[in-house]
């Protein structure tokens, strides 16, 4: 029964999913060739593993492990601070390379992309597997990082393919072979199915992806909501999710959180951290021309206990000055003297385009106009002189201590060694190879 294919059509669509292997750590190894073959860990400034190279993973290190534990498990690990500028440069380049092959590239995350290859066999004079291999090789030679690739009939299946054989894997799942790849795959490993849905499906005796795919449409319609019905179609090789080529231009919510070490019990300092997050979130909201209708704030103690609060705003806004009053009130509700805090965060949600803002009867429109002028001036100053060139005084106490004291405060090498003409804020938009010649 299970040997029967789900579909006999091999390639009605060809969707490729590309996932960079241990992306941050691979970038570090690409620009620091002496780190190749060694266990590399990024995230020094965070105190936990942000990314671990495959050499480190082999020793049992996973994401999120504290660096203290890393030193115990793997004493020869090289721990470096995150250099997001370099990672972003690599990411942009990776997507550009993919666009040489197909115009339909979806930048799914910093290190993942979907590419629609349907119909390209003709122009490349070869099968989809060859095109995928070429892509993988080009990224390898030009960027010096390895990527894992899956090609199949839908996004969900392509993602299963890219995970099938990591690192540096290349997995093709044509229609007639789908059942072979999902036969033993636990259903919660499928993209979009979380632990709760998996537990729900187990009640019906569904534990593998193939069992889900084989259920008839009536069952699916009766018991599952639309997102899962779509996954069911995708598992059967019927592409539902399109490859979205537009870059992200809108947000559901904008959140800014920052950790600081050592933890602080200084109320002024902790509030200043919150205030700075608020300013940052508002800057981003204004950049995307959005205004928030709800504000969430939270504090995290040294014991990782969280306290948070959601506030509804009387009018959509992206100006910190409108938000300081609710922020202060919320802060006083959740702040407890005597606790030591390690992280604060702010989330702006219920975002609406700033053009549709409706003033209430009691708003002082003249004042709001004034704020809009002030903040557009602030944004212009920041553009010219760098972020925080002008900021609110309530964020000033953040300067009482550096974000991270001790060795976690180490800056990435890129920020230390400047060429003539570069400055702290602006560097050349090319990754720097760190070899002595």
């Amino acid at each position: 029964m299970t040997t029967q294919p789900l579909t006999i059509r091999s390639w009605p669509r060809a969707i490729l999913h590309l996932d960079a292997d241990a992306f941050f750590a691979s970038c570090e190894q690409a620009v620091h060739p002496e780190l190749r073959g060694r266990p590399v860990i990024t995230g020094k400034e965070r105190g936990i593993v942000a990314a671990a190279s495959y050499e480190a993973k082999a020793k049992g290190i996973t994401r999120g492990v504290s660096l203290y534990d890393v030193k115990k498990i793997c004493p020869d690990a090289v721990i470096v601070p995150s250099d997001y500028e370099t990672y972003s440069l690599f990411s942009v380049r990776m997507f550009e390379i993919l666009r040489r092959f197909s115009p339909d590239v979806e930048e799914y995350s910093i290190d993942e992309a979907f590419v629609d290859l349907t119909g390209l066999r003709r122009s490349f004079h070869g099968p989809y597997g060859m095109i995928a291999k070429k892509m993988q090789e080009t990224v390898g030679t030009e960027l010096g990082i390895t990527v894992s690739v899956g090609v199949s009939l839908s996004k969900v299946l392509a993602k299963i393919g890219s995970k099938h054989n990591k690192p540096h894997g290349l997995t093709l799942i044509p229609g007639r072979d789908i059942h072979l790849y999902i036969e033993k795959l636990p259903v919660e490993k499928v993209w979009g199915i979380g632990p709760n849905t998996a537990a729900f499906l187990r009640k019906f005796g569904i534990t593998t992806a193939l069992q889900l795919a084989k259920k008839d449409e009536q069952f699916i319609q009766k018991h599952l909501s639309k997102p899962y019905q779509e996954i069911w179609h995708e598992l059967n090789g019927r592409s539902v999710y399109p490859v979205v080529t537009e870059s992200k231009s809108s947000y559901q919510s904008i959140s800014k959180t920052k950790t600081f070490t050592p933890p602080s019990d200084d109320e002024t300092f902790v509030f200043a951290q919150l205030s700075k997050n608020l300013e940052n979130a508002c800057i981003k909201a204004r950049r995307y021309r959005l205004s928030a209708t709800r504000l969430i704030l939270f504090l995290r103690t040294q014991e990782f206990r969280d306290a948070g609060l959601e506030l509804k705003l009387s009018r959509p806004t992206a100006y910190p000055i409108d938000l300081f009053k609710p922020l202060r009130e919320g802060f006083e509700q959740i702040y407890h003297a005597g606790n030591r805090y390690r992280q604060t965060g702010v989330v702006l949600t219920g975002l609406v385009p700033d053009t549709t803002v409706q003033y209430t009867l009691f708003d002082d429109t003249a004042k709001i106009e004034k704020f809009s002028k002030i903040y557009s001036a602030v944004d212009k100053v920041s553009e010219k002189f760098g972020k925080y060139a002008v900021h609110h005084a309530s964020s000033l106490p953040t300067k009482l201590q550096t974000q991270h004291e001790g060795e976690r405060g180490d800056a990435p090498q890129r920020k230390g060694e400047l060429f003539k003409g570069e400055n702290k804020r602006q560097r050349l938009g090319l990754p720097v190879l760190n070899v002595k010649v």
């Binding site: 030009e142 960027l143 060429f419 003539k420 050349l428 090319l430 720097v432 190879l433 002595k436 010649v437």
Partner: protein, 196 residues
């Protein structure tokens, strides 16, 4: 006699050129006839052939006209065109930025700060930035960044048959002949030095 003939031709080229810069396309045969006062299409045809021979314009496979030197008539015929609309804009279309001059393959180009002086003879000094292209296939004579038996170096690549050598551009250094392994990380495509 010859002068007036040439003068006539020049004025016709000017007419066509003006049409081209005003409307952004080449005129049709009948439009050329109108602007030059040539009543028969055959006369226009002859004029077009003459201009095509002078490379003022070209004809595509279907016989339609493509501008030749007409886009910049100044250079070919030597007549100074006064009143040519926005010369700056027209001429600046085909300029390179310093970026695209130095970087052929933007996705594969990396920066590297030079610390040694083994390539001083090639004009590469300590502190200079070199642009390294990882996508190009290294050829004999290229300056390359290479890993030789575990050491990194920047040298001229010299290939003769099976033999590969890395040649410095400084008499104080010796050529390197890889014993075990040679890995070429990229080809140096440019050097940048900023003085102030």
């Amino acid at each position: 006699m010859k002068d007036t003939k040439e003068e006539k031709l020049r004025s016709r080229v000017r007419e066509i050129s003006r049409f081209y810069s005003r409307s952004g396309r080449m005129p049709s045969f009948s439009e050329i006839g109108e602007m030059t006062g040539l009543r028969s299409k055959n006369a226009v045809y002859k004029l077009v052939n003459k201009l095509a021979a002078l490379k003022v314009l070209e004809k595509d496979a279907k016989g339609r006209l493509i501008p030749g030197s007409i886009a910049s008539p100044v250079k070919i015929l030597g007549t100074v065109e006064a009143g040519f609309p926005s010369p700056a804009e027209e001429e600046l279309v085909d300029t390179l930025s310093l970026d695209s001059l130095l970087i052929q393959n933007p996705e594969a180009t990396f920066l590297l700060k030079v610390s040694g002086d083994s390539m001083s003879g090639a004009g590469i000094l300590p502190g200079d930035m070199v642009l390294v292209d990882k996508g190009q296939t290294p050829k004999s004579g290229d300056i390359v960044i290479a890993e030789v038996d575990g050491e990194w170096t920047m040298k001229y690549l010299k290939k003769r048959g099976e033999n590969v050598a890395l040649i410095p551009a400084n008499p104080n250094y010796k050529p390197i002949r890889p014993k075990k392994e040679l890995k070429i990380a990229g080809v140096v495509t440019a050097v940048v030095r900023k003085y102030r």
